[in-house]
């Protein structure tokens, strides 16, 4: 940080809230500031300097910069564990997840890959085994698609109800993905018509592998190098990842370095002893790729507190099978259901915003949402889902989630 005595910052942010003032910390606010020499930086203001925030119309603002910044007053954050990090669904608006808030699930960390040395090898049951550099991939005809990406292990509950949408199902995010269709590369290497599966392998420390049906590769798979208009973030697979719209996160192999065409699945660890689920009768379901329809109300949600009167209930709905055709909301604990408004355009295999205007009378109740997708599938209640799977939970668990609205306005999660 520059020497603030000799190079006094010009403060250019809006008024801070009374609550921040009352917080009484030694650092009273963090603002964007500019040095006399023109560099902008984030500066901490002491209490004695807070007057600088009072009228931003009386001091020059920060000049244009090389990178945009998030307001220092906004602090959305992913919630990391050792193996994953969750998107703060309750803090987002619309359907595009800011790239730095996209969820992460890694199997041995995020690798550092030099794009100049990056290569994708495609071999196996092909006419011409080939190697593509990043520059090669970018020369091919490109395609962009907005779609969600969700980890199949994405349901958590809490007995005391103190759990946020981020904690319940924050392993889903949405981006505009850009790259070359895998079908284009399949044509280039001459994939054998007898090939039925391909192996996708990552260049991370897990050298993670999954088997994918070749039909999906022809249908809509994308070998992506961009996310939301820029190069894919390292956490999302820089420089290249596989994207399979509507399919469970793990199979969208990040840091993609190799594709091997075969006539059978490889039975990798991830698709055998990992991303499989018990469904009762001693059976374990395997190769369950598609994400079933789901929704969650993100406002109001825990730990928020609401006031009596008009509340716009907001949330997201999605299905890996296709488009969301309807979201129904109940404000009386599931006795009656009303259709929510869907934000257009509703896209295939994409997070879709829904809204429902509600006048809360201040009485204890429960609010719920459920999605119906274009295959006629209705998001099930937890009991229905468990009954259908022999009492098991596990991967691909997409139950209706409900929120208690207590008399004092406190919102708490309720497992249904």
């Amino acid at each position: 940080m520059p020497d603030r005595k000799g190079d006094k910052p010009l403060v250019t942010e809006k008024k801070i809230s009374r609550r921040t003032l009352l917080a009484g910390a030694a650092t009273a606010a963090v603002v964007l500031a500019q040095t006399a020499s023109g560099k902008s930086f984030q500066a901490a203001l002491t209490k004695s300097e807070l007057h600088l925030l009072e009228d931003p119309t009386k001091v020059p603002g920060v000049p244009p910069g090389t990178l945009g910044t998030r307001s220092p007053f906004e602090k959305p954050a992913k919630a990391p564990s050792d193996i994953s990090s969750r998107t703060p669904l309750q803090d987002l608006f619309g359907t595009i997840t800011p790239s730095d808030l996209h969820f992460e699930r890694n199997h041995n960390g995020v690798p550092a890959i030099d794009p100049a040395k990056y290569e994708l090898v495609i071999h196996g049951m092909v006419d011409k085994p080939m190697v593509f550099t990043l520059a090669d991939l970018k020369r091919f005809p490109s395609v962009s698609r907005i779609a969600f990406l969700e980890c199949s292990g994405n349901y958590r509950s809490a007995a005391d109800g103190k759990i946020t949408p981020q904690q319940i199902c924050g392993l889903t995010s949405q981006s505009e993905w850009t790259g070359v269709k895998l079908s284009t590369l399949f044509r280039e290497v001459g994939v054998s018509p007898k090939s039925t599966w391909f192996l996708a392998e990552g260049g991370d420390a897990a050298v993670m592998t999954r088997s994918v049906p070749v039909a999906k590769g022809w249908e809509d798979a994308i070998v992506c190098y961009a996310q939301n208009g820029e190069a894919i973030r390292p956490e999302q697979g820089y420089p290249v990842r596989l994207f399979l719209p509507g399919w469970e996160g793990n199979i969208n192999v990040k840091w993609l370095r190799r594709i091997e065409l075969s006539d059978q699945p490889f039975q990798t660890r991830q698709e055998t002893s990992k991303y499989t689920e018990a469904i009762g009768g001693g059976k374990i379901r395997q190769f369950s790729f598609t994400i079933d329809a789901r929704s969650i109300i993100t406002y109001p949600s825990y730990p928020q507190k609401v006031e009596r009167g008009w509340i716009e209930i907001r949330g997201i709905a999605w299905s890996g099978r296709g488009k969301v055709v309807r979201v129904e909301v109940s404000t009386d604990a599931g006795k009656t259901w009303k259709p929510a408004e869907l934000q257009e355009p509703v896209m295939d295999k994409a997070h879709t915003v829904f809204r429902y205007l509600w006048n809360w009378n201040g009485q204890l109740t429960e609010i719920l949402s459920r999605t119906v997708d274009e295959t006629g599938y209705t998001q099930p209640f937890l009991k229905e889902l468990m009954a259908a799977r022999g009492g098991n939970m596990g991967y691909h668990f997409n139950p209706v989630t409900a929120w208690y609205i207590q008399k004092d306005g406190q919102v708490l999660f309720k497992a249904t």
Partner: protein, 211 residues
């Protein structure tokens, strides 16, 4: 996938009350629908029809560079390297390289349990456990996974000999092979895994049914 769309479209047509007396007429309409949807849904292929036969981007891969990356092992044993492993030798490798994370006997953790507890006090523990003996349907996966991803803090550092030895040891600890059995490219695919019969392909139908 597009077949599923066709199915749902046929259902929609029926639901929307199109009454057609003759079955053959319905059949022909279904065929038309199929054709339309095939080209529309399968846009990936339709788009590429105007593409040149080849763009000429990229270069031919050499056998050497493919071999360097291609370590995967299929259930039929394709991809297994030369060499063989013994249970007793694997025990030493395990103690040195694996026990820190998986426990002295492969049960204690702190990371994933690898070995099935033979007589657990709680039967449910055994049922849920994703150990090699309980939950891994193919023995070849053990070799493939250890070779590519383990040890966690030094992935890719083990020799094929180490991996064969470890595979033999872990299969034995799970009661799947005898102490003197040798594991190699011929014997590994033949190891019978109890979990094999439990695995079923996705039974969801892409329709209204909750499964």
């Amino acid at each position: 996938m597009f077949c599923q769309k066709v199915r749902s479209m046929q259902e929609n047509m029926t639901k929307s009350g199109i009454f057609i007396g003759a079955f053959c007429l319905l059949f022909s309409i279904s065929l038309t629908a199929h054709k339309t949807l095939t080209s529309a849904q399968n846009g990936s292929q339709a788009d590429t029809l105007d593409y040149p036969r080849t763009f000429g981007f990229g270069r031919a891969a050499t056998l050497e560079e493919i071999a360097l990356l291609d370590t995967d092992v299929r259930p039929d044993g394709k991809g297994l390297p030369a060499g063989s492993g013994k249970v007793a030798d694997g025990k030493l490798v395990y103690a040195a390289k694996c026990s820190g994370c998986h426990g002295v006997t492969g049960v204690e953790g702190p990371n994933d349990a690898l070995v099935t507890v033979k007589n657990p006090a709680d039967q449910k523990t055994k049922a849920r456990s994703k150990t090699i003996g309980n939950y891994w349907p193919y023995a070849t996966t053990v070799f493939d996974y250890i070779k590519r991803a383990m040890p966690f803090n030094q992935p890719g550092s083990l020799t094929d000999q180490d991996v064969y030895n470890l595979t033999a040891f872990l299969l034995h600890e799970n009661g799947l092979i005898k102490p003197d059995e040798v594991i190699n490219a011929q014997t590994l695919p033949k190891v019978i895994m109890p979990a094999r019969d439990f695995f079923v392909p996705d039974d969801r139908q892409d329709g209204p049914e909750i499964r």
